[in-house]
Structures are given as C-alpha cells and as structure tokens.
Point group: C2
Chain length 306, copies 2
C-alpha cells in the first residue's frame, strides 16, 4: 500500500474512527493520524491504547494542517463540529464524515465549510454492537461497502483520493447521491433496526410476565433482534431524527403490509399468507446469488473484538 494523505484527523474516537485508525496504520495510508474526542476520558483511553499518533485536546488542534478531516461523531453533532473547525482548515483539505444519513449531514456541515475546502461525505456500511475507543479493529471494513456521496461541485480528484483511502482500508467503494442513499439505507438498515428495537421493547415488557423464558428461548428467532438493540442509542436516535422522511415512508409501507398480514391471520386467509411467504423466498435467492450472504448473519456487523 502507499500513503494516500500526509495527515488525517479523526474527530470523534468511537468504533468507526478507531477502526479506521487501525486500518490506516495496517495499510500505511497516512503519514500521521491525529485524533480528538470531546470527553477527556475517551482521550485518555485513546492515549493509553495508542489510538492515533497524536491525541489532541481540542478539535482545532487536531485539524490543523490536516489533509483529510473525517467527522466521526453522531449525525446530530456534525454541524456544531464543522462550525467549530471551519476557520482552521487548511486550504485544499478534504472534509468527510462517516454518518449513516447523508442529506442532513450535507445540510448541517456544508454551509460552514470555506470555499477552498473539499467536502466529500461518506458512509461505511459496517459496525458491531460495541462502541467506544476500545471497540475498533483494523478488519472492520474489509470487504464491506463504503458509499461516497459527493456534493455538487465536489472535486473529482478529492473524491478519487478518498476512494483510494477507503479501498486501502479494505472496503468496496460506490458513489451515489444523498437522497438515494438515504432511501436505500432506510430500507436496508434504518427501518429493520427500528423494527428490531421495537420487538425487543415488546419482549422487555412481557419479560415481567413470562419471567426469564423470553431470554431462555430467545434462540427461536428473537435473539438476533437483541443484537441490534444493543447498538449505540445516541447514534440511532440521530439516524431516525435525521433520516425522518425516508424512514417514515418505509415504516408506512411496513405497517400497511403488516396490517394486511395481520388481517389475513385474523380472518384465516391461509392462501394470502402462503403466497406472501412464497414470494419473499425470491429475494432471499437474489441475495444468495449476489454473494451477499455469509455463514454468520450479523446485521452488517463484523465479528467484534472482545
């Protein structure tokens, strides 16, 4: 691998940033990686485990002279961070992010950035149920997708460089526009997560009725929903608040379908149920054919380091 950037700054030091750091080091993709986290505890922990070549006490220090600045904070915090660092960005530098929602990040970050800085939003589709600076590992993005969402006027060379970084990190890279990204993710990730959270919430209420049996017999289907429900609450709160329209649209379709199936159960319409369950087999075959299945279903999460 060859170096892609002289200096990279990671703002926010959670699962994604720490995994990026280890992958950048593995690939020799940057000369120096600086890091900043809002909490002093996180910064201390980062220094203790050697996360980042240099951990800074302010975001401003971290971004100084950086060629690439990656915002790795919850989507709802991106705007404030961008506003804070904007005056200190090096001309010609690229600002990117790793948020799960793109239009709202573009709206929040874009207006703060000076004209001589490139803005190339990105979204790596990877994660685990663990969070924080100690949860990262170099392999998190290997063979995962990273979606680049260039904005109007994004410099092609800046986009190509960021692509090279993510490919060096191990990811497969695609480009798409923000609106499309947010809809596709609402279908493939955001709504499934909300549904799983909801199911676990229902069971949590019922657990008081059925004692520990919901847990004991969780392997019958429920268990995998709980893996999602251990994801970072702040990150997911922000996802739903910022991808509101697309999530509500897909949720609307979901409840419509669910009510149709519920009605079929109530009225005993076995033919409808059978036809529905037969139809859904096709999409499964599509996933197998596309080589997107793995032995260990993991809701897009790599195997987490313990």
């Amino acid at each position: 691998m060859t170096q892609v950037y002289d200096r990279v700054a990671l703002i926010g030091l959670g699962l994604i940033a720490s995994s990026m750091f280890w992958a950048i080091k593995r690939g020799g993709l940057a000369g120096e990686v600086t890091g900043y986290a809002r909490s002093a505890e996180t910064r201390d922990k980062a220094r203790e485990i050697g996360l980042c070549d240099r951990v800074c006490d302010t975001a401003i220090d971290a971004v100084k002279d950086a060629d690439l600045i990656v915002l790795c904070v919850p989507v709802g915090a991106m705007g404030a961070v961008a506003e804070e660092i904007a005056p200190y960005l090096k001309p010609g530098a690229t600002v990117s992010d790793v948020g799960s929602v793109k239009q709202s990040v573009i709206d929040a970050v874009g207006p703060h950035l000076p004209d001589d800085v490139h803005f190339v939003p990105a979204h790596p589709l990877a994660g685990t149920e663990h969070s924080g600076p100690t949860s990262g590992f170099a392999e998190l993005f290997d063979n995962r997708w990273c979606l680049l969402v260039p904005v109007e006027g994004s410099d092609p060379e800046a986009v190509a460089k960021l692509r090279a970084l993510w490919e060096g990190i191990g990811a497969n890279v695609e480009e798409m526009d923000a609106e499309h990204h947010d809809l596709v993710l609402a279908v493939t990730s955001h709504t499934p997560h909300l549904i799983a959270y909801t199911m676990v919430g229902v069971a949590d209420d019922l657990r008081r009725v059925t004692d520990s049996e919901v847990i004991k017999y969780s392997a019958a289907g429920f268990r995998d929903f709980t893996r999602i429900a251990a994801s970072d609450p702040t990150m997911w709160r922000d996802v739903f608040l910022t991808n509101k329209d697309a999530t509500l649209e897909i949720l609307g379709r979901f409840t419509e379908e669910l009510f149709a199936l519920q009605r079929a159960i109530r009225t005993g319409d076995g033919d409808l149920l059978h036809a529905y369950f037969t139809r859904t087999r096709a999409i499964r075959r599509g996933i197998l054919q596309a080589g997107q299945d793995v032995d260990s279903p993991d809701f897009g999460r790599g195997k987490a380091k313990k």
Copy 2:
C-alpha cells in the same frame, strides 16, 4: 446411549423428521424407525438416501406396532393424520408431534386418539432455512431446547420416556403447559418471523424502484431478515393460523410500540428514542448472561448442511 423405544414411526419426512432419524441412529435410541410421507417423490428420495430403516407407502403401515409415533407434518395437517392412524395404534403406544403451536395440535389430535394410547405433544426449538427429506442432519437438536407439553392425564412414565429420547437426541428438555408455550413462542419466534417476512415483502416491492441495491447493501441489517423469509411457507402459514390469538396479541403490542416510536420520529422526540434504545440494551445483557448468545446469530437455526 441405550435404546429408548423398540420401534419409532415418523409421519412426515421433512427437516425435523429426517434430523430426528439421523440423531436417533447416532444415539442408538430405537430398534427400528419407520417413516411415511404423503408424497411418493419424498418416499423415493428417503429410500434413496437411507432415511428411515423402512419407508412405508401408507401411514397405517408405518404406525403398526410402533411404540412411539411422531407427527412431523405441518400443524394444519395434524388432525387429519391422527384421525387416519388412530384405529391402528398399538395399545400403550405414545403419540407425539413436533408442531410449533401446541394448543391447536392438542385440540386437533387429542379427540381422535384411543384411551389406551398416551399423548405427549412436544416442540423442538430448532430448524434451518432448508426443508425436505434431504435437509436433515443429526446435530440439528444438539444443545437446543425441546419443550414437552403434556396434556391432562399424560402418563408420567410416557413423558419420562419421551424426555429420554429427546435428551438422547441431544436436546435440553423442559415441560410447560400449552397456553403458556404458545404465548412464549409468539414472543420469541412467531411474531419476530412475521415481522421479518413483512420487512422482506416491503423491500421486495421497493427492489423494483432501487434495482438491485437492496440486495447489494443488504448486509447493513436487512440480510438477516431474508434468512427467515426463506423458511417453509406451509409451515409458517399454519403457525400463524393456529397460534392466531397469541400472535395477534403480541402483534397488537408491537404496533402500539412501533407507533409510539414512529410518532417520536415524526415529532422529533429524541429523548424518547434515546431512552427506548437504552432500555432495550438491558434485555441483551440478560441474554449474554444467560449464555444464550452464540457467535453466529441464526434465528434459532443450526448451521444448515448444504
């Protein structure tokens, strides 16, 4: 292991029956295992692969002189099979089943059985996304739960013998009553499955809009829902039709919760979302503490033999 029954008859030769056969052979748990399937094609396939010591062309032949008869057909077909075989059951024999719903099986099968036959319904919590006579393997039930649901007046000795068989097959055995079983399974299995089917149905519609992207980016959460949606349509149709009350009750709670979260998204109530997502972490911890988690989430399915 020691032999538990002289002769076992398996009625229906799908994933569960074929796995039971291989596990019974592995453990030397029965002198002879006979088998019957309605379809001549399935019977031929069974003979071809050595599934069952003797494959019979009628259910009546299969159950003759059997000490244990296990009904391994979809829940909706149990009553008719019981009616057909009832006159030919050996006095003192035990009739059991493997249905995912218990009260409706008891209602459908019980009235047909003669007084000198024991009835001990059962439900092994195991499966894969594959079905049919070639899908079985001896390890399917290893360390999985098998729930025995004795009916009023079930002979304790008959229950103990069936427990010994399932333990020999590799399962952990618990007893509970039918109503309770159906509620617990509605929470831990049936409703999660219906929800996953629904989500896949929604995506199947949207796939036409977003081309193959739903599949391409399915690893972000959606993929694991599709594993469920490849399960046997007939089996699941019958589950929902026969566990109607419990499923509708849990579905009612589910939509109530989902609407509360949907409203929070619409109104931008981040505090509610954050509190909800924080609360659901606790049940995940419970599952980890109970040792019910595995590295490979699989919706209760063992690793399927290809």
